[in-house]
């Protein structure tokens, strides 16, 4: 296959970027999208140019590091997969593919296609945990949890923190990410004691990071590689509303 790539190149956070066009003449349909970028980089290095910086690590769809906005969609055209699991057989010979970084005020571009998602870590630090120190725990089976609840919590916990939800949202909102964690812990009895605190703290941190507001377009869930449901956002809204009305003032 022959592929033409229009790739966003940006030296660092403080400079503005532009698109560069590259042509690849020997792309195999068995390649993953990132392996195609490996080929591009090899070509650039051989030409004495600087390779494209992009984030990636596990290349099996679970670490959440890869983050390309491909032809107007995070992680490209296939449903429920990350960029690393997207294969070139999803494209046609002669295609022109536009590749951009995630774009959000809370995800500043570091270089080329790599962005800084430490805002997600800070949101987690604000409340995305159960306050239990090692050694404190009771026997695991002392706390029965219905299978349905455990399964639902697992579905929420499947979030890989890639940020595709933010990238897809026209408002660059992080509600799906935040709600997945709030939901997981709100569903489980272990998370109950600090549920109110958590919902308020995480939402406040999300707002402080400069993410937009949720207008329920559903783009986040539709593009989520782990297909995290919108019901999480509703649950976060519920948790946040009830917490706002009932939490004690410090």
């Amino acid at each position: 296959m022959k592929i033409t790539l229009k790739v966003w190149r940006q030296k660092n956070t403080n400079t503005s970027g532009q698109f560069e066009t590259y042509k690849l003449d020997h792309v195999s349909e068995d390649m993953s999208f990132l392996e195609m970028f490996d080929v591009l980089n090899e070509q650039l290095i051989n030409e004495g140019k600087e390779p494209v910086v992009f984030d990636h690590d596990c290349r099996e769809g679970i670490c959440g590091m890869c983050s390309m906005y491909i032809n107007g969609r995070p992680h490209g055209p296939k449903h429920g997969v990350t960029t690393c699991q997207l294969h070139m057989r999803s494209f046609k010979d002669g295609d022109i593919i536009v590749v951009e970084p995630w774009r959000a005020a809370a995800f500043p571009v570091l270089k080329d296609l790599s962005v800084d998602r430490s805002s997600f870590d800070r949101i987690m630090s604000a409340g995305g945990f159960v306050s239990v120190n090692a050694g404190n725990a009771q026997d695991a089976n002392n706390l029965p949890i219905g299978k349905e609840i455990a399964d639902e919590a697992f579905m929420s916990a499947a979030c890989i923190g890639c940020g595709a939800c933010v990238a897809a949202c026209k408002n660059a909102s992080a509600m799906l990410f935040v709600s997945a964690k709030v939901s997981q812990l709100a569903l489980l009895p272990q998370g109950q004691p600090e549920a109110k605190r958590r919902a308020i703290a995480m939402v406040n941190q999300m707002d402080a990071e400069g993410f937009g507001a949720c207008t329920n377009t559903g783009a986040c869930s539709a593009e989520c590689p782990k297909e995290i449901s919108l019901s999480n956002i509703a649950r976060l809204n519920r948790e946040y509303l009830s917490a706002s009305f009932t939490a004690q003032v410090d």
């Binding site: 032809n71 774009r103 783009a219 539709a222």
Partner: protein, 240 residues
Amino acid sequence: MALTGLFLCTFLLVHLIGNLQLFKADGGMAFNVYAVFMTTNPLIKFTSYGLYAIIIFHAFWGLYLVSENKKARPVAYAMVDGKANSQWTSRWMGVLGTIILAFIVMHMAGFWAKYKFGEVPYVQYERNIVDGSMTYGPSAPIESKKEQFVSAETGMEYTIVKDLYTEVAVAFKEWWIVLLYVLAMAAVSFHLVHGFSSAFQTLGVHHSKYNGLIKFVGIWVFGIIVPILFAAMPVYFFIQ
């Protein structure tokens, strides 16, 4: 946005039910009496001030949110394939809302302001109490908003009110006004197809058992029936 939006949805229903009286073939009496009721009843008046406030809040908070949300993505994408992951109605709420706001201003200026502060001729209805037959014709202006009395001599009930009905009927003979109204109702439809169910999501109401119902009401009642009935009014007068 959710609470005010849902309040405005209920207002739409009330407004629609009242205005359906335009279709009554009584020379506009029911409608004109209703108009008086709506502008004089203290409870309605009180509610209406709340309504204005809510419309203003809903509109301007919405516009503020749009501008805030724009700031969350300072550098725009070169290519966005929005249709791949969301309904266009959900992405265009700000624009649809702005169209509706403009329409409301025009609508209020055309009817409400004219009715309250402008020159609207009066009409007198004479209804035969026995057989219900009715005639009506212009009347001289009166001091109050409405006079209604029964004459034992003639066996007639007399009602004198401002003739908003004729104002409406005349306005809707203009093709461009009719067109504007129909287009505005299309905007209302698209706004509510997303807005109604979205409000429930924002309030945290999301349940596999009830999501279908909410979606159904949002699309059929507020997306289709309500806007079509509203749009039918100008069309009705135009083709009459």
